[in-house]
Amino acid sequence: MENLLITILLTSIPILLAGLGELVTEKSGVLNLGVEGMMLCGAVAALGSVLIFGNPYIGILFGAIAGILISTVFSFFTITLMTNQVATGLGLTIFATALTGLIGEPFVGKTAASLPKLEIIFLSDIPYIGKILFSNDILVYFAIFLIFFIHFGFQNTKIGIIIRAVGDNHDSAHSIGYSVKLVRWISTSFGGMCAGMGGAYIPLALTPHWSEGMTAGKGWIALALVVFSSWMPIRLLIGALIFGGITILQFVAQARGWDVPSQFLNMLPYLATILALALISLKLRHNNYAPACLGKHFLGNK
């Protein structure tokens, strides 16, 4: 049971990280549909760097950098050149899928070192929950920290409020004297960094070898989660856990030999996550609104 819960938590980490990043990006008014592509870049950079340097922490660093770099391409096109965000985001994913396939070719069949578990003394000895929560690798702690960091940041820090303000009404933000484009560049880069780390987590902790398109749609799920969680970090965690839980259920079902078509089981996590969050957002409709400037170009001063 304990192992099962740990596995569920680990499975949800890539989606959680990528989703949190995209949440910040979208709050600033930028819709980056390239999450899947940025995750793939993070994954291949992490795997390659671990194979070269042998240290899994270097993998996190390279994954994050790769995510930032590829998101910079997106920012340059959409924020500076003002291309269409939807088309550019989709293009980014298609581009990154092919690019990572090319870069990942030499890594096929090689196994990378995984992130070590860091037990937190005392806390990990708490019965039942200690092992689940406090005996994990660094990215799990980081992801959980990030939930509260982002939640707190949006409510109580000036930079958080500025990001929300830019996403809410960019003309006003400009008229009080904030650089809309700079705030969006930074938020998009933060989103890229998180997606890169989420992607990096897959080879560093879940499946330690490369296969083309190994993120398997997790980026798309992360995107959907952001919307269905109504741009709230805590709800994003719930969605990610449901996704992780049902993904693991597939393996349990297979192991126990349940008579369900495997295609149906493959579909289930996606279906269940979206259904669950759709229900949540139905109930809490009154504060379920998107950043008003989401996906809109800021033309600057006319």
Binding site: N156, K158, I161, I162, R164, A165, D168, N169, D171, S172, A173, H174, S175, I176, G177, Y178, R285, H286, Y289, P291, A292, N301
Partner: protein, 509 residues
């Protein structure tokens, strides 16, 4: 000028010019604002008022000229620098963030580092001190327009401004709210803060300002004390020609005329979470009559317009036109009966912005263009029919186009509105329902639109006029009612309802 006089001046602008591409928005403007003075800036849309104040607030950079504050030359590169010189600004279209709370909105415009909790206390204190009641933890989207303006003002007050710029502050307020605002402004001026008050409402300027500078086509036409100039001569200086007085139709002419349209207990649910629910709206309009519906924006005007035009449907007997129950019929059917609608939003609702005027005309009249009802005639168009119509609309209504057959959004607001009204008149309506016809339209175009409406009523047609502009309502309507929070007051004859009555009906004391 002596040193003594200089000491009285807070800000002086010398020969300031600003060009956008080829267009000269400000042409060598000089203006001088004393400490504690309420200085009005008057001009039509496009006269250069906004550009000038944006230069002062650092939003746009002047092409040429100097700005002196307390006698020192300064360059204002961005709003933050403007604030550091003590310049605060309340924008016409508020620069607030609806999804953020009042205190969060204010927090991000302050340059000092303070916590949210401390700021909330400070807001409450300032609000009390200036009698501008406001709840710091409320979200801005839950506030009324008047309250939103208070947020903007408090935001400026917290920075201890020496010059407060107010861009058309009363266009969204009820008469009572305007009086409250004027009290605050006078108190502020007495405390030594200068106020630059932008408006095109002449009576207000007379009432509040001590000095007025009139702009036309980017130039200063006149700068004088308000006690030395009449409103008529202000208006003439502003538009550069004599203003025509509009004559209203006599009030009893249509007592015996037949009923055109009746609305009976019309209910509508709110369209969105920020919308207004319509509650049991009833009124009727006779032929030859203009019914004015006043009200502060956001009290159900959009919902009412949608219900009348058929964008939202209800029970058949909610709307009765002549003897027909049409409450459940669509827009096309209502128009075929002789109703015409001019919605509030002219770019994107009344017209399609990215297509030409001819094409917009076509969309309005396409079903009248296919003479024979055969298949081909319905598919292939004869383009000259709609272009003939659009040319006649343009000529009949003095629509000034930058070139022949422009895109709808290339016309200025006033010209586009003249086109839209002209297009509705072309349909020869029996009932015209028109919302905010002169919102943001300059005085010249507004008075032309109003006289067209009066002519239509004289020809025996019925008009329902939904407007925020009380002067306009008084000028042309025969009966007035007020929409407040989705309910409509009983229509009263214009001469029997005062601005104070209307303010009370608007629900503000």
């Amino acid at each position: 000028m002596t040193n003594n006089l200089d000491a009285m001046t807070f800000i002086e602008v010398k020969n300031l010019s600003k060009t956008f591409d080829q267009f000269l928005a400000n042409d060598s403007i000089s203006i001088n604002i004393k400490k504690g003075e309420i200085h009005a800036l008057l001009g039509e849309n496009g006269a250069g008022k906004s550009t000038l104040v944006k230069c002062l607030y650092g939003v746009v950079k002047p092409t040429d000229g100097q700005i002196l504050i307390n006698g020192n030359h300064v360059t204002i590169n961005n709003p933050r620098e403007a604030r550091s010189y003590g310049i605060g600004m309340v924008f016409q279209h508020f620069s607030l963030f609806p999804a953020l709370t009042v205190s969060e909105n204010i927090l991000i415009s302050l340059d000092e580092k303070i916590t949210k909790k401390y700021l909330e206390d400070k807001i409450s204190i300032t609000a009390k001190q200036w009698s501008l009641p406001i709840e710091p933890t409320k979200k801005v989207l839950d506030l009324s327009v008047g309250e939103q303006q208070r947020v903007e003002i408090i935001r400026c007050l917290l920075q201890n401004p020496k010059l407060l710029i107010m861009d058309e502050p009363t266009s969204v307020l009820s008469p009572q709210e305007i009086n409250q605002l004027f009290k605050v402004l006078r108190k502020l001026a007495n405390s030594g803060c200068s106020i630059l008050y932008i408006s095109h409402k002449l009576n207000e300027i007379k009432q509040i300002a001590s000095k007025v500078t009139i702009l036309r086509s980017g130039k200063v036409i006149s700068s004088t004390s308000t006690s030395k100039i009449s409103t008529t001569s202000m208006a003439e200086k502003m538009i550069g020609k004599k203003v025509k007085k509009i004559t209203k139709i006599s009030k009893n002419r249509f007592v015996n005329s037949p009923n055109a349209i009746s609305i009976n207990n019309l209910d509508r649910k709110k369209l969105s979470q920020f919308g207004t629910e319509l509650k049991k709206i009833s009124f009727n309009v006779k032929y030859g009559e203009i019914l004015g519906i006043a009200g502060v924006a956001g009290n159900g005007q959009v919902e009412l317009m949608n219900a009348l035009s058929g964008e939202t449907l209800g029970d058949p007997d909610e709307i009765i036109f002549e003897d027909k129950k049409i409450g459940n019929t669509n827009i096309k059917f209502r128009r075929s009966l002789g109703l015409e609608f001019v919605p509030e939003e002219r770019n994107g609702h009344a017209t399609v912005p990215d297509i030409t005027l001819t094409e917009n005309t076509f969309l309005t009249f396409y079903n009248t263009y296919s003479k024979n009802n055969n298949f081909l005639d319905n598919i292939l168009l004869s383009s000259n029919m709609s272009s003939d119509d659009s040319i006649s609309i343009i000529n009949d209504n003095d629509v000034r186009c930058p070139y022949s057959n422009p895109l709808a959004d290339q016309l200025s607001g006033g010209n586009l509105q003249k086109f839209i009204v002209g297009r509705s008149l072309k349909a020869n309506p029996k009932v015209l329902i028109i919302s905010q016809p002169t919102w943001g339209v300059d005085i010249g175009a507004a008075s032309e639109i109003r006289s067209k409406l009066l002519l239509l009523a004289k020809a025996g047609k019925a008009i329902i006029l939904i407007s925020q502009d009380l002067d306009e309502i008084y000028e042309i309507s025969n009966k007035i009612c007020v929409i407040n929070n989705g309910s409509l007051s009983t229509p009263k004859i214009t001469s029997k309802i005062s601005a104070t009555d209307i303010g009370i009906l608007m629900g503000i004391n």
